[in-house]
């Protein structure tokens, strides 16, 4: 087994902290998206861009659905 110290911070490690950690304050402009939704959006974006074989869940109907869902939460 090896212990690896990476120089460049992996994006996924960054997102673990910037999207799942940190003080959550609803700014007066910030999205009112639940944490889980925020993470899902970003991770889905990640998945579809790192792997072309995985179709983006935001295409077509699903995308429309999610947007509707978000809109519902925002209103």
């Amino acid at each position: 087994m090896t212990v690896v110290e990476r120089r460049e911070i992996a994006l996924v490690d960054l997102l673990d902290r910037l999207l799942a950690g940190g003080v959550v304050i609803t700014g007066d402009v910030t999205l009112r998206i639940a944490d889980v939704d925020l993470v899902r959006i970003d991770l889905n974006a990640l998945i579809s861009s790192v792997n072309e074989n995985v179709p983006s869940p935001f295409q077509g109907e699903l995308r429309g659905e999610l947007r509707g869902e978000l809109r519902g939460e925002l209103s």
């Binding site: 087994m1 090896t2 212990v3 690896v4 110290e5 990476r6 911070i9 992996a10 994006l11 996924v12 490690d13 960054l14 997102l15 673990d16 902290r17 910037l18 999207l19 799942a20 950690g21 940190g22 003080v23 959550v24 304050i25 700014g27 007066d28 402009v29 910030t30 999205l31 998206i33 925020l38 959006i41 970003d42 991770l43 889905n44 974006a45 990640l46 998945i47 861009s49 790192v50 792997n51 995985v54 935001f58 978000l70 925002l74």
Partner: protein, 298 residues
């Protein structure tokens, strides 16, 4: 067209100037907004990129997300070098300075309490990966089955080998987490990372964060380093020091210091789900007489 205020962190006033070359989100240098004996670190960002509507679209754009996350982290890193910041979640945006001041006033007691608790502490990330894909060791060692019976025996061997591997990984991760948790002041479990996202080889079986005083960090790193000979087929990755991102949650929840880790349950179920997915594990008696073919040592 009015600039909005992107807030990175809240901290106590500090004397050391930030590095002059530092640029934050949207290329704007971070500025210090003093209020009520606290400092909010902010950048001026354009409304067309950081309004609610724009942010929603941007968060689906990997390039934008990467750039913004790295810029955010760059400022937090610079702050960590000179003080103990309370990092805010990505994309916390206010309309103007007075909105930021109102936010500070509303939460100043929480901020002070958490700043006291975190003073001089940093976060270390530790991940454990199961390096060998579970189906490989047995499959590679086994000859082509000559009969249906051989085939079934072989499948059982493989299933068993996978189970052993998983169990060892789980035991190792649990033991490591306990050891590091005893040394650290606090610990949090993050959900295991999806290999499709991280691009890391192997399966992530532990993804944890530990809160450690800066002065004891060297020993903590050595402690992690010493685990390297403990288990074959596993890989340990260390990241940090980070600002204490994973240990500021009680401000948001307003729930004080919750003992125990709510992530533990999540990890447990993720692991058992993963184990269940490694194959049918029905307890056929023949399994007991089949030798260990992992070749991985114990």
């Amino acid at each position: 067209m009015t600039g909005l205020r992107y807030v990175y962190a809240v901290c106590r006033p500090f004397d050391t100037p930030l590095q002059s070359q530092l640029t934050g989100v949207a290329g704007d240098p971070p500025r210090l907004l003093h209020h009520h004996g606290l400092v909010a670190v902010v950048s001026h960002v354009p409304e067309w990129d950081f309004s609610e509507e724009a942010l929603r679209a941007h968060l689906e754009d990997l390039d934008w997300l990467t750039e913004t996350a790295r810029a955010h982290q760059g400022v937090i890193d610079a702050l960590t070098a000179v003080t103990t910041p309370l990092p805010l979640r990505l994309a916390t945006v206010f309309r103007d300075d007075s909105g930021v001041r109102v936010m500070i006033e509303a939460r100043e007691d929480d901020f002070r309490r958490t700043l006291d608790r975190l003073e001089g502490r940093v976060e270390w990330g530790v991940k454990v990966y199961l390096e060998t894909p579970p189906e490989e060791p047995a499959a590679a060692a086994a000859p082509k089955p000559a009969s249906g019976r051989d085939y079934l025996l072989q499948r059982r061997r493989q299933t068993r080998a996978r189970e052993d591997l998983w169990q060892r990984a789980e035991e190792f991760a649990t033991r490591l987490h306990r050891t590091l948790g005893e040394y650290a002041e606090d610990a949090r479990l993050h959900a295991p990372q999806n290999p499709a996202l991280s691009g890391a080889a192997g399966r992530n079986v532990l993804n944890a964060a530990y809160l450690v005083p800066r002065t004891r960090s060297e020993e903590f790193v050595e402690l992690v380093d010493r685990t390297k000979d403990d288990a074959p087929g596993l890989r340990v990755e260390l990241t940090g020091p980070w600002a204490a991102y994973s240990f500021v949650g009680d401000i948001a929840e307003n729930a004080g210091n919750v003992p125990g880790d709510p992530g533990g349950e999540k990890r447990g179920s993720a692991q058992s789900a993963a184990r269940n997915a490694t194959g049918d594990t029905t307890g056929d008696t023949a399994g007991d007489t089949v030798g260990d073919t992992t070749g991985e040592g114990t």
